[in-house]
C-alpha cells in the first residue's frame, strides 16, 4: 500500500474518474476533501517512448513527470513524492535495477510502487531480479495501452485512497483528541460540582451544629435567669417593694420572651432544613383540623367563618398545616378588636383574566369590594402561573399599611407592637419559607383598619 510517510501538498482538483467508494455519512464529522493529485514518474532513455506514455497516462488529478535517466529520476524523487514510478530497465549508465535499488534505499520512497518496463525478450532471471529490488509489476514493450493505463490507474487510486485514509485517520485523531478534551473538561466540571456539593454539605452541617448549639446552650442561661429570678422573688418577696418586685418580674418575662424567640428561630431554621415530604393533601380536611386546634382562641369570640371548597394539593402535610395554623391564627388574632370577625378561607383556580365574581367563593363580594380589588390587581401581575392553585385567608381585622407589605414575611418583622398584638414575627416568615419550598408564592394585601388577605399559590396536584 502506498502510504507516503511525508505530507504531500494538497491541490484542490475535481475528483478523478475512480473516486474511492465511501458510504454516505451525512452526520459524520469527517470532512471529505477532493483526492490529492497523484504524481506519476516516467523514466525512460527514449524520449519517444516517454512522450507516448505521457500522452496515454495524462488526466485530471495526475501530474506526469518525465526523466530520461536514472540520475534524472532520482533528482525528481528528491523534490517530490510519487504515486507510482514507471521505470525502464535498460538505460545507459544507471540502469533500471540500480535506480530501483537507490529508490528503495531512501526511506521516503521505500514504499513507492515501481513498475518495470522491459523489452519483450527479457530473461526470467531479469524479471526475478526486478521483483527482488522492489518492483510491484512488470510490463513488456511494446505494451498494450489499455493494460498500461489500467495498471497505473490502480496505483493512482491506491495512492489516493491511502491518502484519504491517512487524512481521515488524522481527522479521527483530532476528533478523538477533542473528545478526550471534552471528557476531561466534563470530568473537571463534575469534580467542581462535587466539590461545591461537599462545601454545601459542610456548610449545612455547620449550620445544623450551629442551631444544635443554640438549642442546647442558648436556652440554658435563659432558664437560669428565669429560674433564679423566680426563686429570688419567693425568697425575698417580703423584703422587696412593688418596684423591686416589678423589676424581678421584668427579668423573668424577658428571659421567657428570649426563650420563645430562640425557639421560634430554631423552628424557622428547621423549616428550611427539614426534608420535604410529598403526599396528597386534602386542604379542606387540613383547615378543619386547624380550626379545631385553634378552638381555644376562638370559642369565646364571635367569628363568622366562610370556608370555600379547597382543592387537593401535593405537599408536606405537616408543613402545609403550619401554613394554615399561622395564617388562620393571625386572622383570629388581628380581628380581635372586631365585635364580629369575618374570616374567609377560599381558593382561586382560574387564569388571571378569568377572575370574576364566580371565582370567589360565596358569598361573593360585590365587584367594588375593596377586598377583591387588590387581589385582581395582584393576579394581573403574573405572580401566579396559570395552572397554580391559589388559596387565600381573608379577614376584616385591623389590616396593615401596604407601604410595609414587603416587611411582613421577614424574620422577626412586625407591623404591630407587642402591646397591641402579641407575637414574635416568625409565623409569616415560616409561611413564606414553606410555600417557597413547595414551589409556590405568597403575597398579602391589606388596608389599615380594613382587613387583610394573605394568599399563596401551589402547583396543582395533577401537574406533578
Amino acid at each position: 500500500m502506498t502510504q507516503p510517510s511525508h505530507p504531500i501538498p494538497l491541490t484542490i482538483l475535481s475528483p478523478v474518474s475512480v473516486a474511492p467508494v465511501e458510504p454516505d455519512r451525512p452526520t459524520s464529522p469527517v470532512v471529505v476533501t477532493p483526492p490529492i493529485t497523484a504524481n506519476i514518474l516516467l523514466v525512460d532513455d527514449d524520449p519517444g517512448s516517454l512522450m507516448a506514455m505521457e500522452t496515454l497516462l495524462a488526466g485530471p488529478g495526475r501530474t506526469i513527470v518525465t526523466a530520461e535517466s536514472g540520475q534524472d529520476a532520482l533528482r525528481h524523487l528528491l523534490q517530490q513524492d510519487f504515486a507510482v514510478i514507471l521505470l525502464d530497465v535498460r538505460m545507459p549508465r544507471l540502469g533500471g535495477f540500480e535506480t530501483a535499488a537507490l529508490i528503495r534505499g531512501r526511506a521516503r520512497s521505500r514504499h513507492t510502487p515501481i513498475i518495470f518496463l522491459s523489452a519483450a525478450d527479457t530473461m526470467d532471471a531479469d524479471v526475478f531480479r526486478g521483483y527482488s529490488v522492489g518492483a510491484v509489476d512488470y510490463l513488456f514493450k511494446p505494451f498494450i495501452p489499455e493494460i498500461l493505463k489500467a495498471k497505473v490507474t490502480v496505483f493512482v487510486d491506491l495512492f489516493q485512497i491511502g491518502d484519504r485514509v491517512r487524512q481521515q485517520s488524522e481527522q479521527l485523531g483530532a476528533i478523538n483528541q477533542k473528545l478526550d478534551q471534552d471528557i476531561t473538561a466534563r470530568k473537571r466540571a463534575e469534580e467542581e460540582i462535587k466539590k461545591s456539593n461537599t462545601q454545601l454539605e459542610a456548610a449545612n452541617k455547620e449550620l445544623e451544629s450551629f442551631s444544635y448549639s443554640i438549642s442546647h446552650d442558648l436556652r440554658a442561661p435563659l432558664r437560669h435567669m428565669n429560674g433564679f429570678a423566680d426563686l429570688l422573688q419567693k425568697h425575698a418577696a417580703s423584703a422587696l417593694d412593688d418596684k423591686g418586685r416589678r423589676y424581678l418580674q421584668t427579668i423573668s418575662e424577658s428571659a421567657k420572651q428570649m426563650g420563645i424567640l430562640v425557639d421560634d428561630l430554631l423552628d424557622f431554621s428547621r423549616v428550611g432544613r427539614a426534608e420535604l415530604r410529598q403526599a396528597a393533601v386534602n386542604l379542606n380536611q387540613l383547615v378543619n383540623d386547624v380550626l379545631e386546634e385553634l378552638r381555644q382562641d376562638t370559642e369565646a369570640r364571635r367569628i363568622e367563618w366562610k370556608l370555600g371548597t379547597l382543592p387537593e394539593v401535593r405537599g408536606d402535610p405537616a408543613m402545609l398545616r403550619q401554613v394554615f395554623v399561622n395564617l388562620i391564627a393571625n386572622a383570629v388574632k388581628y380581628t380581635r378588636p372586631r365585635e364580629e370577625a369575618r374570616i374567609e378561607v377560599g381558593t382561586l383556580t382560574h387564569q388571571p383574566s378569568a377572575v370574576s365574581r364566580e371565582d370567589v367563593p360565596s358569598p361573593h363580594p360585590a365587584p367594588g369590594d375593596p377586598l377583591l380589588r387588590p387581589l385582581q390587581r395582584v393576579m394581573g401581575e403574573e405572580k401566579v402561573r396559570g395552572d397554580d392553585v391559589v388559596v387565600f385567608v381573608r379577614d376584616n381585622g385591623v389590616g396593615f399599611d401596604m407601604q410595609y407589605a414587603h416587611k411582613l414575611f421577614g424574620v422577626f418583622q412586625r407591623l404591630h407592637s407587642a402591646n397591641e398584638f402579641e407575637g414574635t414575627g416568625i409565623g409569616l416568615a415560616n409561611v413564606q419559607r414553606i410555600i417557597h419550598r413547595h414551589g409556590g408564592r405568597v403575597w398579602a394585601e391589606g388596608v389599615v383598619d380594613g382587613g387583610a388577605t394573605f394568599s399563596f399559590s401551589l402547583p396543582r396536584l395533577a401537574e406533578r
Binding site: S215, H216, R223, H224, A255, K256
Partner: protein, 159 residues
Amino acid sequence: MAELKRILLAEDNRKDVELTLTALDEHHLANEVVVVNDGAETLDYLYRRGKYATRTEINPAIVLMDLKMPKVDGLEVLRTIKGHHDLKTIPVVILTSSREEKDLVESYQLGVNAYVVKPVDFQKYIDAVKQLGAFWALINEPPPGSLRKEKEARRSAVS
C-alpha cells in the same frame, strides 16, 4: 453508705443542678439525689468504679440525665447503660435543653424511658421536674435490685 440514694442526677451545670434540686425538694426528694457532673462520672457511679467503687450493689430507681455533658455525652452514657445486661433495666430519663429531633430519635432508639425538654419558664420547669421525680422515684415500681422508696418517703409524697 452516703451514696445510697434513689435518684442519680447527671448534670454538669451547677445552676441546673440547683434548680432541679429545688424542684425535687417540693416532694422532699432533694435528699434522695446523687449528683454526678459528667458522663464519665455517671458511668463510674453505675459501674461502681473509681470513687464509687465502694458503693452498694443496689442501683438508683431512676437516672435523670442531661445530654450535653463533658467527657462522655448523655447519648453515649445511654448507649452504654442500655447495652449492659445488668444496667439496662434502670429507667433513664433524658432531661435536656435541646428539642432537636435527631437527639429525640437517637435517644428513643437507644431505649430511653422518657425524654423531657427543660422549659425556660421556671414554673413549668418546676412542674416538669416535680412530676418526673414523683412518678419515677415514688409512683413507678423500679426493677428488682433498685433502691425502693421507704415508708417515710411514701407518706411525704402522699401528703
